[in-house]
Structure formats: structure tokens, C-alpha cells
């Protein structure tokens, strides 16, 4: 190397490899397990922290490091911030643009991240939204049990 480099690409081998396993299995965690049960039931939970503030989704412990107390959040939900994804990281256009929002229920201090099923040209900050759950038999207690949020 250094002064005796070889630049001819013919001499350089490219070696395909990977760093993959067959799959990862992620457990839902302490609050996550309760959230999972609620989602299957069509409800969304948050956590109340020692200062009385409610955060969504519940994450077992609070930003003040104390344990959070589970509470149900009911909304109404509003679009707090949003973006529209038109292409992927490689610069390929998506078939259909995706609206992604930070969606905050009035009874919490922050919002969750989720998909907004709406025409990109019609979304605006403050827009009232409602969660649309998948049919009960398709729910598995995961975040995608909420199929998306749509204009209320």
C-alpha cells in the first residue's frame, strides 16, 4: 500500500458477504406486554410519570427514570408533525408516497410515530386523526395492529 498501490480494478476482488441471522425475535417488554393486550382489544396505552405527564407509547420507565404507570389514552389524536416519503434511500421512487406523522393524543404530552392514510396535499398540522385497527382476528399485539391513522 502507500507508495506501491495497485489501481487496476481487474486485480481487485470484490467479496460478497453478509451479517445476518435467520431472524430476530423481540420480546415486547414489561409495558409492551400490557400494550400488546390492549392493542388486541383495540385500545392504546400510555404511561403516567411521577410529574403527572402522560407519554405514549408506554415504555416501562419515564424520562425521569422512574417507573411509569399504565393508563389508557383516548385522544382525540392530532397530527403534530409530518413528512411525506417519496423515494427510498437509494433514490428509487415509491409506488405511492407515504405520509408519516407524529400523532399526539390530547391526553398525552407527546405523540407516537405512525402512518397517515391521507392525500399528501391535504394533510396539515393540527389535523384530527383517528386510529384504524386491523380486524380483530389479524391483531397480534404489535404496533401495526393499528393499520394507520386517518382523518377523523
Amino acid at each position: 500500500m502507500s507508495w506501491n498501490k495497485h489501481g487496476r480494478l481487474h486485480d481487485i476482488i470484490t467479496w460478497p458477504e453478509r451479517e445476518e441471522v435467520d431472524k430476530y425475535v423481540y420480546t415486547p417488554g414489561l409495558h409492551g406486554l400490557e400494550l400488546a393486550k390492549a392493542l388486541m382489544d383495540g385500545r392504546i396505552l400510555g404511561m403516567r410519570c411521577s410529574d403527572g405527564k402522560v407519554y405514549v407509547p408506554p415504555k416501562t420507565f419515564c424520562p425521569d427514570y422512574g417507573q411509569g404507570e399504565l393508563v389508557e389514552v383516548k385522544g382525540p389524536w392530532r397530527l403534530q408533525y409530518y413528512t411525506v416519503v417519496y423515494e427510498n434511500l437509494y433514490g428509487n421512487r415509491l409506488e405511492k408516497p407515504v405520509v408519516v406523522g407524529v400523532i399526539k393524543p390530547d391526553d398525552a404530552v407527546n405523540g407516537i410515530i405512525h402512518i397517515v392514510n391521507a392525500d399528501p396535499s391535504k394533510v396539515y398540522v393540527g389535523m384530527e386523526l383517528r386510529p384504524v385497527f386491523r380486524p380483530k382476528e389479524q391483531r397480534r399485539g404489535v404496533i401495526t395492529d393499528i393499520q394507520y391513522f386517518e382523518p377523523a
Binding site: E17, E19, V21, Y26, T27, L30, F61, Y65
Partner: protein, 394 residues
């Protein structure tokens, strides 16, 4: 080496609290929750809250166990890095002991007064088996085509140790017997047991000479320490445990070009730590040790690297009971990785936590018989490369 001793350190660095989760094969908790549980316990023990913490150091081994890229960032909030300076340090399996080592300079530099030092590993997410992750520790071009299993490299080292030192499998199995027995008194333990040498020799042969009971298990868990300046330590406790020496060394990646019977990477790191601590005869001056024991022969290997026994002689002393909890120089009184479990980075932190409790005479049934003043722990990592050492005193 041009290394200077810590001329500028006027304020000593202390450990004032430790916390640990249960070590288990599968945890319900997410990785960040495990970190939170251990760190909360460490803060509670120290009588401190997160508000008192200035900086956070996180240790965790490959991201491909937990299945999260940029794992330090993922563990940040659980480890207390919520609007705080945080870095993650990484020397493979050596990480656990390296976390308090680097916390030392966070404090000794004067940048941070109170540091939360957290080790976490959740190995259970990786499928088909966490061992498969280790395929990716090998050189992608000249090693991976051989489809190596992790245990190969350990077996090769163990074989070398046996060949060079004349140790037999039954001599080495005694480490596993001792550590799993010690672990019976550890509430965190995953695989504590009263077993015999025969049980080890009859367990499933994985990669000869390594059998199932020669190896520590796959584990989920976390452990944490609270590390402070002398001033803070004096305010929160009457019995701080001082960090008296730190050492670390990384050998070359080409382990296939080196003798494996003696760990020179550890020996260099140990000399660095002992020099800083002013220790000239570690075999006399160290009262209790937690040598890194992911495999039983590794404890012997590391006892020798730490100069607690002469090269090739640790196995002989072991047979005499020298390293038992009531022996001359107790090693792995916690039960070690072989007995407590091996959530990689958390396991190293656990070893330091154990010495913290030993030096405060708080280890309960695990307390070693002899009086303790100074202790040493080490961890090892990478491709037989990384040595990390910490010397503690009370």
C-alpha cells in the same frame, strides 16, 4: 511504553454502588429495560438518583445479539443517558471490565463527577441460535468460508493450553465444578449447580476438547456500577471501593499467527494496571480475583496472565483448593460466567460488581474467608486479542 502514571490525578476514583438483573436464558424485558433495571438498582444502592449522574458509559458486545444496530444509542435511555454525555465502548468480550476502566478516566479527567457504567446483553433474540452470530466475528474472506463455529477458536486455545501445560481435561473441569458451586449462593445465577468432574466429562462434546459443561451459557442480563470522584464518594458512603489500577491491551487480529497457550494480551494489560496500582507481586498482594471464565480453561489461562500463578501452574494450584472461596486466593467467588451466566458485556461488569461487594464485606454467603484489601478482575475479547484489567482496593 511511554505510558505515564497518573501524575495529575489528585482526586481518586471510587465505586459506590452496583446493580444487577437476574441472569437468564430468555428475558421478557427489552434490552433497554434490562439496562434500566440494573442501573436503577446501582443508583438505589448508592443512594443517588439519575439527577446526580453526569455521564454515562455503556458496554455491549455485538449488535447482532440484541438485533439492533447502533446498540449504544438503543440502550442510551435505559442506561440513564437522557440529556447526558454518553459513549459506548467496545472490546468484544473484554467490554464488561472496560466499562469501569473507561469510567475511570471520565472521572479522573475531571469531566464527570458521577458516572453510570452499564453493561447489557440480550442474546436470546438471535435465531436459529445465538452462537450463529459468532460466524460474523471471523474474517469475512479468509475465515468465514470454513463456516466456523465460535467454540472452535476456544477449543483450539484450550488444546494448546493442554498440550503446552500438561493439563488434562479433568484438571480443567474442576474450574467448572468450583464456579457452578460458588454460584449456588448467587441470586443472579442462571446455571448454579453441584456437579462433579465426571458430569463435565460426560456432558455433550461440542468441539473436542470443549464439552457442554466446560462452557458458560447463553444469557440475557445487565449489570451496572456507579463510579464517582473521591469527593462525591465521601459524601455518599463510608466504604467506597477505589479503582487503583486500569489496564487494557489489544493484540493483533491474526490469532492464527500466535502461540495460544499464554495470553500475552492480558499479561500486558495486567502489567499496566499493576504498575498504576503500585503492585509488584500480584500473587501476594491480590486477595481475591474474578478472572474471566467464559470457558473453564480460560479462568486458568487468565490466572496465569494476571500473574496470580506461574505459567502452566494454575491447574495444579486449583487441584489443591487454592482458588476456592476458603482458599489462599479465591477466584470467581461470584460463580463466574460458568455459574452465573454470560450476558457478555454485563458479565464483565458483574465480575467488578462482585469484587465491589467482596471489598465491602457485603457478599453474604459468597464472602471469601480471608481478609480482603485488594482485588483484580479481567475480561478478554475479540479474536483472542483483548485484555482488560481493573484493580480495586478498599
Amino acid at each position: 511504553m511511554g505510558m505515564v502514571t497518573n501524575l495529575f490525578v489528585k482526586d481518586r476514583v471510587a465505586i459506590v454502588g452496583a446493580g444487577i438483573t437476574t441472569f437468564m436464558r430468555r428475558a421478557l424485558e427489552t434490552s433497554r429495560e434490562l439496562a434500566w433495571e440494573a442501573a436503577r438498582m446501582a443508583l438505589d444502592q448508592a443512594g443517588l438518583t439519575l439527577k446526580d449522574v453526569d455521564c454515562v458509559v455503556i458496554g455491549s458486545a455485538p449488535d447482532t445479539f440484541d438485533g439492533v444496530h447502533l446498540k449504544g444509542e438503543y440502550l442510551a435511555d435505559g442506561s440513564g443517558a437522557i440529556r447526558k454525555p454518553m459513549t459506548r465502548v467496545f472490546v468484544g468480550g473484554g467490554t464488561g471490565v472496560f466499562v469501569p476502566v473507561s469510567a475511570w478516566w471520565h472521572v479522573a479527567s475531571g469531566l464527570c463527577k458521577t458516572v453510570l457504567a452499564v453493561g447489557e446483553e440480550k442474546m436470546s433474540p438471535a435465531h436459529p441460535h445465538p452462537q450463529y452470530v459468532f460466524r460474523y466475528i471471523w474474517d469475512p474472506i479468509i475465515h468465514r468460508p470454513l463456516e466456523p463455529n465460535l467454540i472452535w477458536i476456544f477449543a483450539m486455545e484450550m488444546r494448546r493450553y493442554m498440550a503446552k501445560c500438561g493439563a488434562k481435561k479433568e484438571d480443567i473441569a474442576l474450574v467448572s465444578v468450583k464456579n457452578k458451586r460458588n454460584a449456588l449462593d448467587n441470586p443472579a445465577a442462571q446455571v448454579a449447580a453441584n456437579i462433579t468432574v465426571d458430569d463435565v466429562l460426560k456432558s455433550e462434546v461440542l468441539v473436542w476438547p470443549v464439552q457442554e459443561l466446560d462452557v458458560s451459557p447463553v444469557t440475557d442480563g445487565a449489570a451496572a456500577l456507579v463510579i464517582t470522584s473521591e469527593n462525591v464518594a465521601r459524601q455518599v458512603t463510608d466504604s467506597p471501593v477505589w479503582i487503583e489500577g486500569v489496564g487494557f491491551t489489544l493484540d493483533n487480529q491474526h490469532w492464527e499467527n500466535r502461540e495460544l497457550a499464554f495470553p500475552r494480551y492480558l499479561n500486558y494489560a495486567a502489567r499496566m494496571a499493576y504498575r498504576m496500582a503500585g503492585i509488584e507481586r500480584p500473587w501476594k498482594e491480590i486477595d481475591v480475583a474474578e478472572p474471566y471464565d467464559p470457558f473453564d480453561y480460560k479462568e486458568l489461562h487468565h490466572i496465569e496472565g494476571l500473574m496470580l500463578a506461574r505459567p502452566c501452574e494454575a491447574w495444579k494450584l486449583l487441584k489443591e483448593g487454592y482458588f476456592n472461596r476458603d482458599g489462599e486466593l479465591p477466584t470467581s467467588p461470584s460463580g463466574g460466567l460458568l455459574g452465573v451466566g454470560n450476558p457478555i458485556a454485563a458479565a464483565g461488569v458483574m465480575k467488578v460488581a462482585e469484587l465491589f461487594w467482596q471489598l465491602r464485606y457485603e457478599a453474604g454467603k459468597r464472602q471469601v474467608k480471608r481478609p480482603v484489601h485488594r482485588a483484580v478482575a479481567n475480561a478478554w475479547g475479540d479474536l483472542m486479542q483483548a485484555g482488560t484489567v481493573i484493580v480495586l482496593g478498599n
